[in-house]
Symmetry: D2
Subunit: 346 residues, 4 copies
């Protein structure tokens, strides 16, 4: 089989780097075009010394017209707004597009409220929200996939079974999320300066993070309920990993064991979701570098609530890994191609 040709727009961030890690071991893929505005003219291995000997492609400026016509798949890892503008220009080509940014994840109404004016609202409805485990059939047929945000991925996978089964109060969900610093990207700022972050733990954008409407929309669409979430993100002094601690009020008596059973059944055919046994809660380091989402569950029967703990690697299942998973589905490949390796522990 001929390899599929891939372009990555915005290749000089951590998301780009992780895409390379998976695409370069993918048997059916060839990376042929990379862009990076600030670093145009350099090679990818200048920007990422760890890639020396693997890929020495030159980084190009971001011009849609310069992207070769025979590209089969485009990954866009661009700032929001920019992404939509570029994709608008590319949409009519015979190409599959996976956008790792926020431009096609939520409805135009919410986009306006949380991000501002959308450059091409007509495309939003054509995009499929690429949380693979929930939307696989739609992803298969999609031309444009909106790859989910990191916090939403961990939250949605943690909540999907309980909401689908309609045993939790969808109006009072609390998601307390903790993220490693790579989630903030590769642009230096005081907030992510080493000595400010190390030994410093803080909450930010409490109740005002843009991933909140994304979580609510995705879960509402999936469950048919009107889901309301209180969302608090925290910055943790570590490189990778998101852990979301999710609190729900149950509307049915159920034991921890039963709820675990329900989750296991829900995800029984999923390669990348693992449910922990009773009294076991996952650590971010057991999914590090991998596309896994591991979930631990506890029911408190005295007040009929449940706590669900969901961990992912924010750069993998929360970004590049899920993007490759979506690509595999779109192209009809085995879903785990390029993603077969074990997590990297420790």
């Amino acid at each position: 089989m001929d390899k599929k040709k891939v372009a990555v727009l915005g290749a000089s961030g951590y998301t780009g780097s992780e895409l390379m890690r998976f695409l370069l071991v993918h048997p059916n893929i060839e990376v042929v075009h990379l862009t990076a505005e600030k670093h145009a003219g350099k090679r990818i291995s200048d920007v990422f010394p760890h890639l020396r000997g693997f890929l020495d492609l030159e980084l190009k400026p971001l011009k849609p017209k310069s992207i070769p016509k025979d590209i089969d798949v485009i990954f866009a890892a661009l700032p929001h707004g920019t992404s939509a503008e570029i994709i608008k220009e590319l949409y009519d080509r015979d190409v599959k597009i996976i956008d790792l940014g926020a431009d096609f994840r939520i409805s135009n109404k919410n986009y306006k409220k949380w991000y501002g004016q959308h450059p091409c609202p007509e495309l939003i409805k054509k995009a499929v929200y690429g949380i693979t485990e929930l939307n696989r059939e739609k992803v298969k047929k999609a031309k444009l996939v909106a790859n989910p945000g990191c916090y939403p991925t961990s939250s949605i996978l943690g909540l999907a079974p309980i909401l689908k089964n309609k045993i939790a109060d969808e109006s009072s969900i609390i998601v307390d999320s903790k993220s490693g610093v790579t989630g903030a990207g590769r642009s230096p700022s005081l907030d992510y300066h080493y000595s400010e972050v190390n030994e410093g733990l803080k909450a930010y954008k409490v109740g005002e993070h843009r991933h909140m409407p994304e979580i609510e929309e995705a879960l509402s669409n999936y469950s048919g309920l009107k889901v309301n979430v209180s969302f608090t993100p925290h910055l943790i002094p570590m490189d990778r990993g998101i852990l979301s601690t999710i609190y729900v009020n149950l509307n049915k008596k159920i034991t921890t064991k039963q709820l675990i059973g329900l989750y296991k059944k829900h995800y029984q055919d999923e390669r990348f979701v693992r449910i922990c046994e009773e009294k076991v809660y996952p650590s971010t380091n057991q999914v590090r570098g991998s596309n896994y989402c591991d979930i631990g569950i506890k029911v408190n029967s005295s007040n009929n609530t449940a706590v669900i703990v969901s961990v992912i690697d924010n750069l993998v299942k929360g970004a590049s890994g899920q993007a490759v998973q979506n690509m595999n589905v779109m192209l009809g490949f085995d879903e785990d191609m390029g993603l077969e390796a074990t997590p990297v522990f420790p």
Copy 2:
């Protein structure tokens, strides 16, 4: 004035080390007796090289009878159970006792349920729960102070004003706490082995941590309400610091600004509590090494809930600093003696 003589029982842990840091700069205190079972015969500076030149006292075995009669204050930093047994023997002396362990923090009923049989239940009622800001008047007269746990300190200070003012639903409180690794003490185990913790973030004892009944009892006693808390502790890859994110349902319309105002008023005379302005949330590194508790507040008016973020240094306000603060109150000293230095940032 003659200096007061202090003994520390169980001086070889991080709590003991921090007590030294504050007591050695305290103008009215002299440290004269230290015990440490495993390290008896060594000097404190053998166990803590950073103390060389400050204090070279020999560590003694833990025998109540060997504790000099002229000791004025005893700090006990011992395993639960052991602590109560020792304090039982010392109680009749003319001495002030501050127990940093769990033995006198909760009612006998809860103690039995969460810890087991209590060695001297009759003393529990004589002990004052030493969350200084709430119980100052009782601490002043106390002979025996139960110094609060680290998680409870951050949770209680974060919740006291809102519960006292009866504007939150006391039956549906969620406390999501994150702690640095010193909270687990100085005894090696796989759970706290560097390579297991670094880059690893996890929840543990979900809904089953012994600090949960402590929080509930202390807040119930303080507010007169029957407080119910869902408590989830998490281990964070950093040395020091606790951040508790607290979720409450409000039973009254109130804005963020108003709630901040209420907290500022509640704590207006407190040296060691600082309330952040709107949209500002505290980081653990701004209280590091100090006795401060910093609190950030956000009301979500759409669903009438509030998020309160409370940070402390678990070894200081969460243990040794608060113990010294209590001692100062018990002895009639200025409350911040020995605790005057700024936090250590970064």
Copy 3:
């Protein structure tokens, strides 16, 4: 082709875990037997939750007779002494053995001095020291390979070209090495307790580390010179990575550029060694998770000395990765099979 059957003795440490990571993606290998004394009876995924779904083999007690007869390759990751005893029993089988411990790395004379009495000194001479880049031809024919230590690997690869070319004083070499904490293994102790290591940097076993004679022997054998090394190891608060800063006195005028050229030529056919350009020095995070050794070079012409900076991942090129590389050479496979993925950055 039939897959080769592999056994790993001592599979519950970080070395064992990393072996799994490479062997499980290796197309020609099947892992069929694992031992772990302390954890016998558990499954490997109980001990390493990140391996759930990849490998659920039961861990067996360490009994040579229980190791299936049809095993093709044995990796031993055992304490020194134990390793030699076990290998002695297995040596006559038709099997390839790779010992990741220290028992066959140095001469009996040095072993006696640094480790004690050797259980089977007659086997030492039959073993090949498996620093693949230097001893490839011998490794090809070896039945028993002594996989090098982590510090020695980084030191030897950094020094081999300059010593082979006889342009440095072999009697006055200084190796200042810095290692992440995984190098100390997975057994808890106060020295590797999180709160003792984090924010703590120290030297240890100055001039007395057992890897010193290993470096000297390997380089003496390779260069034909009598190499003398002053070696100082340091413990760094990070999980993975060794950086060795090597100081040599040059006995010939040479520029930085020329010395870099010499290194590039020396390693021109090596997949796993990368030489940096002038003024560029490698970081441990650019080899993390991979089998690479990256080297930076600086000549100080004013006093005719050179500084060589060599980085590896201690668990990969310094242990399990090199072991797999050696296995590939021994079995006639492509040398990078199972080791093709890029480093994991960040």
Copy 4:
């Protein structure tokens, strides 16, 4: 006694923050004037939330004429070049000046070579190099003190005794230094972005760091020898601490015990230098937050070399603590005023 009035120029960096920590507990000092170009108009507690309630002074723009006439002591923590220009304008006032920058640390000749044209070379000779332990008598009488660099402080204190006693070859000294990230200051850049530094360890400016001539000059002046040093700095993923591993060739037979004795005698009256016993090497965490320099020593008699390991807190003994120590000496105060607290461990 009236308190001495202090101004800090450039107060918004870590050095400024640490100065506050010591000056605010200093019984004889009052901080009255702070400048910070970028943050002028804000209060110091806006820039450093940990200082809320301690000091709410407004940060002023850096204008010499705006500095009150009755200031007794000026600390300058400014970029090199700027510092000299400002100090030139202030020099004729009746004020003591302590410059924490590099402008007055080295001779004009070396300054030109390593930094460029000096704004007021005539003042260089009037400045005293403030490594207190070596130059105390000169510091006492100084009007202008050049506070040493962080790497030089650890190196010079580690080498002074052995060079003064003329038992080491001064022409072949190697200093391999490792520094925490606060040494790089508070300005964000990719090099100090959390995710680039954490788990990343690297050498930089090998043989080309500006602290090299500073070390050589200071030690040459002190010992009367022509000292030559090969210096390699490394960046370590931790906040604070410098550890310098120093390699010297001895020109006299001496045992480890004897060399330790010599160091103890040399520093016997020094409050802030502690010499470790044989086989004990200091960790950076035992001096964290304090003004101590701890030193471990090992002689290798087989090749007549010594290894000296010296640790400091780069922000304290390597910057602000030593500056306060120098101020105390200049003003005739007890040398440890404001610096009495124990290190902050862990």
